[in-house]
Amino acid sequence: MKNSFAFLSALLVVPIFTPARADQGSRLRFNRDIRPILSENCFHCHGPDEENREAGLRLDVRDAAHEYAVVPGDVEASELIARIESEDPDSVMPPPGSERALTPAEIDSLRRWIEQGGAYQSHWSLVAPTRPPAPEKSAGTIIDAFVDEAIDRAGLTPSPPADRAVLLRRATFDLTGLPPTKEDVERFADDRSPDALEKALDRLLADPRYGERMASDWLDVARYSDTYGYQVDRDRFVWPWRDWVIDAFNRNLPYDRFLTHQLAGDLLPDDSSATAARDRVLATTFNRLHPQKVEGGSVPEEFRIEYVADRVQTVATGVMGLTYECCRCHNHKYDPITQREYFQLAAFFDNIDEAGLYSFFTDSVPTPTLSLPTDDQERRLSELENQIAAAERTETAACETTVDPIFSVDFDDDVAAPNRSVPGVSGQAIRLTGDDPYKTDVGNFRRSDPFSISLWIKLSDDTPTDRAVVLHRSRAWTDAASRGYEMLIDEGRLRWSLIHFWPGNAISLRTADRLPIGRWVHVVVTNDGSSRAAGLSIHVDGRRSDTTVLRDELTKQITGGGGDTIALGQRFRDRGFKNGAIDQLAVYEGVLTDEAAANLHRNPSGRRAEVESIATTLRTLRLDRDRLLDDVDEIMVMRELDKPRQTFVLARGAYDQPTQRVDPGTPACLPAMDDSLPRNRLGLARWLTASDAADRHPLTARVAVNRLWQICFGVGLVRTPEDFGSQGAPPTHPELLDHLAVEFIEHGWDVKRMLKRIMSTDVYRRSSNPATAEVVRSDPTNELLARFPAGRLTAEMLRDQALMISGRLVNLIGGAPVKPYEVEFSFKPAKSDVGDKLYRRSVYTYWKRTGPAPEMLTLDAAKRDVCRPQRERTSSPLQALVLLNGPQYVEAARGMAEETLARNIDAATSDDARILADVYQTLTSRRVDDDRLKILLKLLNRQRKLFRDAPESAREHLTIGKSPPREHQDSVEVAAWTVVIGTLMNFDPCVMKR
């Protein structure tokens, strides 16, 4: 035991330095100094989770801890200390084998904290921020005052301001994701006015490429992907939402509205133009960007529950910085959130008419959806709708005619085994196994085609009554989202439905009465072509049945997907009409009249019947409208169900283990939701973004400004942007974080303003070189920001920069995703595009969940599988291979080489130095020094020689990429310059934000 304990201690790592921490003897603060120790080592068993609490002891709240574990002022009487310092393996805490242990310094902190009275504080992030007093300081902004105070306290020297070129490069990447041009750099260097930086920031914030850069970041939070994910991972149409995000950033939509539109745009009062209203609904696609499943045989509810869970996680992580997903299965181990509260949050997102699987056999967009007609489509659609409405008013008196069915069968002949012939209502009937369909050769009706079906059915004792397919025209059940039409037995009743995508795009009726078992029943179902539930009818034994409307929203075709004709008694992977019998099936064009239904009931072998037919003009208009609508794009959005779905606490989070009922609600540890707010997503959004000091949400603004800080400095003030809870990193500058959060709220959640304030500071202007070695030694992780934190440019920035310097970058905002070269090397390879699409900014790169753009992944892009508010920052040789050998980068280097040589067409070798200096400046925004110029000249001449010795290689090198080599250029020269430029593109100042 002793040995293994020693081993455990060896595993522990003592932080080398923790800046901004209390000195010996100073007053300890619970949140800053004590909570992290207790949280890491004790809360797992002695924290908020009641069910797994050991010995009834709770250390996360004062009253419980003060009972005996923490006796204020009396260290020796405190059981906490006795246990931690115990040498008895049976009583020492944390228990051996828990992989947890305290350092001597931590134990000392606990002792001193108890000596000082053992005071508790609420967890910092759960208390609303208030404006802290600004430290006194003569120079710089308030932000600098907060930062410099800590630097002063640590006795460190901040770095001087960065070189102006470096600063402009930094700001240009931060705000536009692209490098500055050489002219930008020179103009900025020459502008000696005091507001030079401010002017530059204003210019950059007004650049439409700002929206693209900011969107890249939000796409990670929103787990944006152009495909559904999971296993089959088909393409889906969601990019209009991405364009909404870009536009929202560019028009500086305040962050509170940015969130509200995405969470609840569908619920906002209808007080704006149609376009604006549509845009707000489009924003809610945010909630549907989670992965979706299509694999055959999956249990739909299992995945629907996952979708809801993903929405919860995204809002919790991305907006509140809380690890809510931890309490899906049990109460949170560290933060005061219960499992019940998790499902209360889930209840907000549980309330849309969605399926757990998308359709394998069709391309129907999973409901609920928003139509996105083009202006032209919208105009034509509104004309047609008006004409249809008029025709419906004037032409209701449709003519009645007597017709023969287009198909009928009496089953008097033998039926194919294993279905059997049995005595029918007249002659013989068919008895179905449930696994073997009886197929007809008719029935491919469109939704606007009036039609009717008449048949006799008989249920036997062992026919399933909870669900059984009597007849249908469709390819499959969940695998085709039931597209087509179907007559089912549903909870003992008859259900009749026309479906584009079940459940959200369908019309459906169910009889009020249950079907009898063991006797023949006559059934007629009709569709009048109006695409309304009221246009359907069910007649049982000659009488029109009382029905309940189950669905009444059908806007797209019911044809397609396969299974084009009516089949009886069986459907792919559905429950068949086992041991049920059918007789006298007849299919009619037109709507059977009530009288006709009664006649068919009275006379089982009769066929001719009276139908109402719709006036040709109306039908033509409807078919025209259908064709138009079938072409209109649809996108997944949020729309509340009329009748809220009941949400349950799920035991262990499992879909099939519902326990207590819960209603939408917010957790007790956060401010109460005002009674005036609706208990839906809009209420939730209002609660998250409340601006009054009285009911301000403690997390929303802090999490937001932290991410803005991260955009500028690479890391946030809270270095775990995904976790502001007890186990997350406490803020390096708590007062500054609160100051920024309050400023943000009080100035209308203005994102551009906040960025500008953060960037107009001394700390942002600082050089990334430490002023002294001491700065690095005592603050290796740069928490104090005495120097600017350098970091590698993001995957998008590196590629976009290459495109820009090549002269090929396409300046076009928005549109369908594009496939650059790298998708060919994906685990799920796709053919790359041609022409301009190869040179669009990386925010438009096609994102396939099961095989994302491989170069971007290598360069640490988020996988976008779940909400990730921070990217990893790694350095691997695989990245070097991408930047050195990737065709996009090689082609970009050639583009710049070709441009450079074309500009210097008359240049002599003696001009090499000048040209190289120029190239160097374009690539790094800096002026080259003599030493490096020599290195580059040597490299250029070496490459010239190598390519001159192998001119074939030179020509070959110029064929990389789809853009043809520029004509009339010396291939040896172009190849040599391409290699030199390519090398420089891997040079630190080109790759790093410094």
Binding site: G576, Q727, N769, P780, T781, T850, E956, L984
Partner: protein
């Protein structure tokens, strides 16, 4: 591998930094230097929890779920009861997939393939596996595997990551995180997928790092010209040209006159960049060397069968696996899709076996020949089993089997498992386990155990919680250990 948390950029010379920094193949998580999450890097085990019996794993994953009762788990009763209904008392309350769950009848199917006993151990094997039969005495056969997943996505994800839902690290990533790399210029976790196979799609997250740092993710070796993305120099760039570029790049970085470098302190970014490019350059020769079969004697090639010379086939990947094992790669994951026989099993299964039987057996023999079998654990199996009843219509010459999570078979060989052992048993219908059930969590716990790791003690703190491969489950199965 040196734990990263000991890295203190100050006071270290560049040389110290490079040698101690341990820039492995997957690179260096610079994040740790920035986020202040110093303690979280302690997951890299300073030493094993107990002596390891296996140093590396080759997992021959058979994606789609091979039919256990047509290959390994001999059930003569099914032949007797062929065509009759699965009795309700055998079926119990097992949830069925949506594919056959609504079928009105569930007729039992006997295997059309002959079974016989093999080796001194007398292990039952199907006639479809003549080469595997030849190594029967090397195999540790488990008939009592079980899982909760009933569909491929969750099933494969469970087998690879210990969870049915995406987001957790894969087994190979956990091992790289725990044990680091043995090789300086090869990744420690390599993935190869048999080319040109249809079947259930695989996804890259199956070898992903989940929430672990991305350097731990599996590196997929492609079968084409570049086993690793953009490994080869671009067209027209010779090795001399590249060397000249890298020399110049290094000089640019090392030049003292630059504004971006302070001599007082080694800049970790610059140092890592220099190391990064040098390692990339070394890989440009080490990986082609490891993937070129030219030095393999003919008799070794013959052992794997004729497919071995066709890159990307299962046979070629098996030989590649042995070459990588020799070069210090710790976890080699092969995927061979195509076992999802919902229909057409009598024709489809023999075809799959023809592609896999000989190479799988050859790999075991070849490892033994090289003296590597003792400390290399070879695993063969899929994500779940198949039903004893027919999915769809049972026809005279055709049938299919649906997914069956309740029991399935896997075999292991080498590194610390008992050879010639048959572990666990199913009922005579092959539907339920009646002896020694072995859950996927137990399987993972046992793999880690063989590698010298206590599965409860290899953890990673993410979003405040300590995660492990086995979640809160898993027991080491002593009975199969040698």
């Amino acid at each position: 591998m040196e734990p990263m948390n000991e890295l203190n950029p100050s006071g270290l010379s560049r040389r110290d930094w490079l040698t101690r920094g341990g820039l492995g193949f997957g690179g260096l998580a610079l994040a740790q230097m920035f986020r202040g999450e110093v303690a979280s890097a302690a997951g890299v085990l300073p030493r094993l929890h107990h002596p390891a019996k296996a140093k590396r794993v080759i997992f021959l994953f058979q994606s789609g779920a091979p039919s256990q009762m047509d290959l390994f788990d001999y059930k003569p009763l099914l032949r007797e009861k062929h065509g009759t209904q699965l009795p309700d008392e055998i079926r119990g309350d097992q949830r069925l997939t949506g594919m056959s769950g609504n079928q009105s009848s569930l007729p039992l199917v006997g295997s059309p393939f002959k079974f016989s006993r093999h080796g001194d151990s007398g292990m039952w094997l199907s006639e479809l596996l003549p080469h595997t039969a030849g190594i029967a005495d090397e195999l540790c056969m488990v008939h009592s595997m079980h899982t909760e997943a009933i569909n491929h996505g969750p099933g494969v994800t469970f087998m690879q990551t210990g969870s049915m839902f995406p987001g957790r690290p894969s087994t190979g990533a956990w091992l790289d995180y725990g044990l680091g790399s043995e090789s300086e210029d090869l990744p420690s976790f390599v993935v190869m997928v048999t080319k040109d196979k249809g079947g259930q799609p695989l996804v890259s997250r199956l070898w992903g790092n989940g929430f672990l740092p991305s350097r731990h993710q599996g590196v997929r070796f492609r079968s084409g010209k570049d086993p690793v993305l953009h490994l080869g120099n671009p067209a027209g760039v010779s090795i001399e040209s590249r060397r000249a570029s890298l020399d110049a790049l290094r000089q640019l970085h090392e030049s003292p006159s630059g504004p971006s470098r302070s001599d007082a302190v080694a800049d970790p970014w610059i140092e890592s960049r220099i190391a990064q490019y040098e390692l990339a350059f070394r890989m440009q020769s080490s990986i082609p060397e490891a993937t070129d079969f030219a030095d393999e004697p003919q008799e070794v090639l013959d052992l794997y069968g004729p497919d071995v010379t066709n890159p990307g086939t299962f046979a070629a990947n098996c030989l590649q696996a042995r070459r990588l094992a020799q070069r210090g790669v710790r976890f080699i994951q092969l995927y061979h899709p195509g076992w999802d026989h919902h229909g057409g099993l009598p024709k489809g299964l023999p075809r799959q076996c023809k592609e896999t039987d000989q190479p799988s057996a050859a790999l075991v023999k070849d490892l033994k020949r090289c003296g590597l079998l003792d400390d290399t654990l070879v695993i063969w199996g899929g994500e779940f089993g198949r039903t004893n009843y027919c999915q769809g219509k049972l026809k005279p010459n055709d049938f299919g089997r649906d997914h069956h999570p309740r029991c399935f078979s896997m075999w292991m060989a080498g590194g610390g498992v008992k050879p010639g052992l048959t572990h666990g048993a199913t009922d005579e219908y092959g539907y339920n386990i009646v002896e020694s059930p072995l859950h996927i969590h137990d399987f993972h716990a046992t793999i880690l155990h063989l590698l010298g790791i206590d599965h409860e003690r290899l953890t990673f703190k993410y979003q405040g919680r300590r995660f492990r491969l086995t979640d809160v489950h898993g027991h080491v199965v002593d009975a199969i250990l040698s």
